[in-house]
Symmetry: C2
């Protein structure tokens, strides 16, 4: 057998795997917990460690970008080829809190390599998945004989993702010029399973609001007045109940306007995934499914917009009873949005719909939080095809399937501000225990991540030129 690019890549990775893992272990030892102020220094140390390592990898530019919170790391490696497309990789170097007493079987910040797995907080979310890009780009150079990547390669690795990315959008807006790219690769997700490699093609957006309903000026006696004045807790409940029809479709007029429908091809792709409802319900810690008529569970959480009540409260909630008509009540609603929906229009539609339903005698206020837009990359997008093709090479020619993500995240800010399609390249699997004790990454999959990126930059340079 001759030295095919694929075999060169594998040989290179095999030769450098030990040093790669040693480095990753060193990084994982830094408890960069962004949510805990006592770890602020560790988060800074983590950023500095990464910037130094990216320099060492060969990135000519590797900078710490401060924010009002924890710092981000930016690195750039120009291709040298004037026609090369520009790719921005997104990840984060902060981690979730972790303590031995949460149920860990080993110290969360003393990485443990055993049985082909690396156990540590951040092993999968997200340090492992950021770090495979270092060895990946070196393997790409080794396999192609280049001295710089085939694409203009940029990395933005933020330090506050586990704290809700409070300063990320501002950071992206501030540095929009330097972050400009033809495509964004988000390395902070996962695959369907060890045996079903997949690429995520989009995330839902989200808009949320709190509505407060005011009735009597104070709690009043339900014997003397009940049944004759409007009850704000009943109004709150009626609004929540009226949000869905008997098919669990959202009733707010205009809510579905513009929603990009699932194509038959997309529905087939979702239907072909080896979905096990009982296993999914265990993950959801739930005891039944309920959702929009005409759609499967995966379609409901990935590709359909929803309205959910996240909180409701009003009147007396203590022990026993209290016969009052409450003075006020509130509901917190959130709306997951999909491609084609505009958060601003949704907010106006919800505002009007609520106002139309509040009876005389009840005053209400509605306040929206900051919305996140949905993002979706079409299945036939060339960059997406590049990712799937590169991943398939790493996975021994295995067919790569496509998933979506029901949640919402800062990826949408990148799409939004930079105007670039967002692709998701992740090798984590559901058993990796994100945010849970005994978080781990599968070594074999981690190295397949390396291998995927080793192929990806050449493929994208070819496809997107």
């Amino acid at each position: 057998m001759s030295d095919t690019p694929d075999s060169v890549v594998r040989t290179y990775i095999e030769r450098h795997r030990a040093a790669f893992l040693d480095d990753l272990v060193a990084w994982l030892r830094i408890p960069s917990v962004s949510a805990q102020p006592e770890h602020a220094d560790d988060v800074r140390r983590s950023a500095e460690w990464l910037a130094a390592k990216l320099s060492e990898t060969g990135f000519p530019v590797a900078e710490i970008w401060p924010t009002p919170g924890a710092p981000a790391v930016f690195a750039e490696w120009p291709s040298g080829d004037p026609d090369a497309p520009t790719v921005l990789v997104y990840g984060h170097h902060d981690v979730q809190p972790a303590a031995r007493e949460d149920g860990w079987h080993s110290d969360p910040f003393e990485p443990l390599l055993t049985d082909g797995r690396l156990y540590a907080r951040g092993a999968a979310d997200d340090k492992g998945q950021v770090f495979f890009h270092t060895l990946g780009v070196r393997a790409h150079l080794a396999a192609t004989g280049r001295t710089a990547p085939a694409v203009n390669l940029k990395l933005i690795v933020e330090g506050e993702e586990e704290s809700g990315s409070p300063h990320f959008r501002a950071l992206v807006e501030e540095h929009a010029g330097r972050l400009a790219a033809d495509a964004v690769i988000v390395s902070d997700t996962g695959m369907w399973s060890e045996t079903t490699p997949t690429v995520c093609t989009g995330m839902r957006g989200v808009a949320d609001c709190e509505i407060t309903f005011h009735g009597p000026d104070q709690d009043i006696h339900s014997g003397s007045f009940g049944g004759a004045v409007p009850n704000p807790a009943a109004v709150a409940a009626r609004i929540v109940a009226a949000l869905h029809d008997e098919d669990e479709r959202v009733t707010v007029p205009g809510f579905y306007d513009g929603v990009t429908p699932l194509t038959e091809a997309e529905r087939e792709i979702i239907a072909e995934l080896p979905f096990d409802e009982a296993a999914w319900l265990r993950t959801a810690k739930s005891h039944g499914t309920l959702g929009e008529a005409g759609f499967s569970t995966l379609e409901r959480v990935w590709a359909r917009p929803t309205a959910e009540v996240n909180g409701i409260g009003g009147g007396y909630q203590g022990p026993g009873g209290k016969t009052i008509v409450p003075a006020s009540a509130m509901v917190k609603l959130s709306f997951r949005l999909v491609d084609g929906q505009d958060p601003d229009k949704i907010e106006r539609a919800v505002t009007d719909w609520v106002a139309a339903q509040v009876p005389a005698g009840i005053r209400h206020e509605i306040v929206f939080g900051a919305a996140t837009r949905p993002c979706l990359t079409p299945l036939d997008h060339p960059a997406l095809q590049s990712v799937a093709r590169s991943m398939s090479r790493a996975f021994d020619g295995h067919r790569i399937r496509f998933t979506r993500e029901g949640g919402s995240g800062p990826a949408a800010d990148l799409q939004d501000v930079l105007g670039a399609p967002v692709l998701f390249l992740g090798i984590s699997v559901p058993s990796d225990g994100w945010h849970a004790p005994d978080e781990k990454v599968e070594l074999e999959l981690l190295l397949k991540g390396v291998e995927t990126t080793a192929h990806l930059w050449g493929d994208m340079a070819e496809t997107m030129r």
Copy 2:
């Protein structure tokens, strides 16, 4: 003019009015606040003061009845006539908390007599209205020349009404034999207004429950799972919303079964009252009316059963948003009941109705509190006619109208345990400020209460014989 019974009564009252007021002032000085443990001795002192005063009035029996909480006072004055009916008067000697800094213009426990009013905590609720029975029965004897009342007169004056009468039903059950009566006169209510003397003819009952809904085993991510699993806060809201139809009628099957309908005569009586909606809304501290279609506001609160949500809670209620499907939610409901409704049947109907609406995947529990039955005395009941006639004599021949009370109270326990009709004799007016600062009683009305009872025992002895 000859000495008619009415003029004898008036003369007698006029002659004894100063001493009567002195005594009442002395009683009002005792801060018998049952809700405040530091006043437990005062509540006891109040009971002892009253028992002594009733002995002095002439009651051959005047006893302190202990309870696990504050003591009650029982007094009895047999008629001596073997055919005499027995009447039990109910009242309470404990008062609401009061402090100068709540907004009183004088010390709540240093009674102030000014401009024909007596200001003090308990002046109207309920010491004044208990105390008019002492002078009333003496005036009755003076006018009739009797040495004992024309009826077997009993008084039960509890000491925990302002704390929810926690031991009253048990006390009535324990002493049911000694409390046995042909009619109960509750002296703890009021009239429509100074210029519209009224008799209350019934109170609504009440049943209440708390329903808890359990969904996921813990709060789960609404991005990953929302829209595909049942949300217990939405289920709680849907139950509350489904409680009423578009006519604000309660939808629980069987809820209205057996409800004694308002007669045309009763509706006319209610409609003739000088009801001022704006004034009523001010009292209700509300900004609109809403209730069962086809009934007026007074009919809704007095004579129609209702379902009210007293509290609702579930999910995240703190500041900002939290994108979860909550693990659980709860609602507290209460049902006001009217004559013809059985709390046990209502509880079963609600239990079945809720169960039928909870979707698969949601577990629920429903717990009912202790119910209070409704009580209603028909307009043509002879005892009620006696009360109205006696009151009319006291009010210079004024027509006496009839009201009801939307709330629920221990009166129903008396009806329930003793099997006697309950009548309400009260002279308090809405401006008396029950439970509020500057509580007062109108002296002229207080003396009309004396005068009413001075006529009542003879009339009842005549009518009910």
